[in-house]
Symmetry: C2
Subunit: 256 residues, 2 copies
């Protein structure tokens, strides 16, 4: 099977032109087939604010009312996605922007209302990679925005970390998938105040221990849960890293 | 050669949920390969207004400063495009949204500043249909937003009528292309006050005559110029019509 590198980038990395350029410079250095999954929450919050729409987050998850859904559709599917695509094309990388609605790539269902009504937030039901794989075989590089659809015409806001893990798991049947979660830090840190205290290898026992004693904080948990899940499903390697170390594979490696 | 129907929809048709639904219902009735090219100017003007960005038009063309470029990238590439894609998927039509940057589909150069500085507006340089044709062969339906790029990372705002004509001309080498310009009226009218005064067939001599005596008004001229150009380059049929008559082929037919 061929190697496929799936990079999730989020947060500050994609929302500032300089750090985005640095990321794209690193991304094009990765050889072989690749996919980029991006976030864009800060820009969405910013645009929403300018439009007079209040951003409400619960446990780091965005409450997505009707007008907020329009904002994330514009920002993730339009502004952030197309800037990345144009930036990759400028670097000779034949990118294509996709949401989960395009090619029916990712179908989801609206999250049921329990204690919290998240609004138009989608939990993934299925990944259909047929046409995606066809594009990859043609050396096209998919750039995926964190939006899904319910197959009945409704777009839904879906967490980019989860999209990356689900895409990786689906593609593990066809490729040796390397899943990299890329953020501002060099990896998962043993000490939040020491950027060099990288945990080079994290297994499930150590992960549990670090969760219990608070070494690993709340923000990292969904990313790591997604990563371990992908690893269990057959993803070859899961790495938590930053853009500078993406191409050389340094960071925190998940092991089962 | 197979038949390919390329529909350009614009104006009011795509910017109201009811008329968009009606359009998509008609669109999926068209058999064979097809492409949808859309506008979205009114929504862009609306969102720009809410963001405090003033819309300035010269001869129906939008002056596209840096912040207006972000607005059209969000609205055309994100909001309008993804709503159409999700709506088509709901109707069993395997749509994919594309800008001119995706797959390097349409490269353009920033319009030179003469009397007027249009800002980030692109004049088309080249259409690269390789991957687009591959998708069409797989029965995927491209939905194209009126954005291009300069291959150096700059997105550009490009007229949707022109994009439709250039795509049609490029694809005429591979398909029997039927290009339909779809708007609110049933066709080109002999009398603007009589919606039934449709000119069923318009040749270049008659077009010139109607332009001279003012029967055809300024707004229609770029559309018709684009249409006649596509027809000369080898597009099988060019029709000016409305969504209701799209599937049955009624309207104003251009003949050379």
């Amino acid at each position: 099977m061929n190697r496929l590198t799936l990079i999730k980038v989020g947060g500050k990395v994609v929302e500032n032109q300089d750090s985005l350029n640095a990321l794209l410079d690193q991304f094009v250095r990765i050889s072989g087939n690749k996919i980029l999954v991006h976030g864009g929450g800060r820009t969405a919050t910013d645009i929403a604010g300018k439009l007079g729409i209040e951003t409400e987050m619960v446990d780091g998850r965005r409450i997505t009312g009707e007008s907020m859904l329009d904002v994330v559709t514009m920002v993730y599917g339009g502004l952030v996605n197309k800037k990345i695509v144009a930036g990759l094309q400028a670097r000779g990388c034949n990118a294509i922007g996709l949401s989960g609605a395009d090619l029916n790539l990712i179908s989801a269902k609206k999250r049921p209302v329990k204690e919290i009504d998240y609004g138009f937030v989608g939990d993934i039901v299925d990944v259909n990679s047929r046409e995606l794989r066809m594009l990859i075989e043609e050396n096209v590089v998919p750039v995926v925005a964190p939006l899904t659809h319910d197959e009945r015409g409704q777009l839904l806001n879906t967490n980019a970390d989860t999209i990356a893990a689900e895409l990786a798991a689906e593609l593990a049947d066809y490729f040796n998938v390397y899943l990299f979660y890329c953020f501002e830090k060099k990896g998962v840190l043993r000490d939040q105040n020491d950027d060099n205290s990288i945990i080079h290898e994290l297994d499930t026992a150590l992960y549990r221990e670090y969760q219990q004693n608070g070494v690993i904080n709340a923000g990292m948990i969904p990313k790591l849960d997604n990563g371990f899940r992908a690893k269990r499903i057959g993803v070859k390697e899961v790495l938590i890293t930053n853009p500078e170390n993406m191409a050389n594979g340094r960071g925190t490696r998940l092991v089962l």
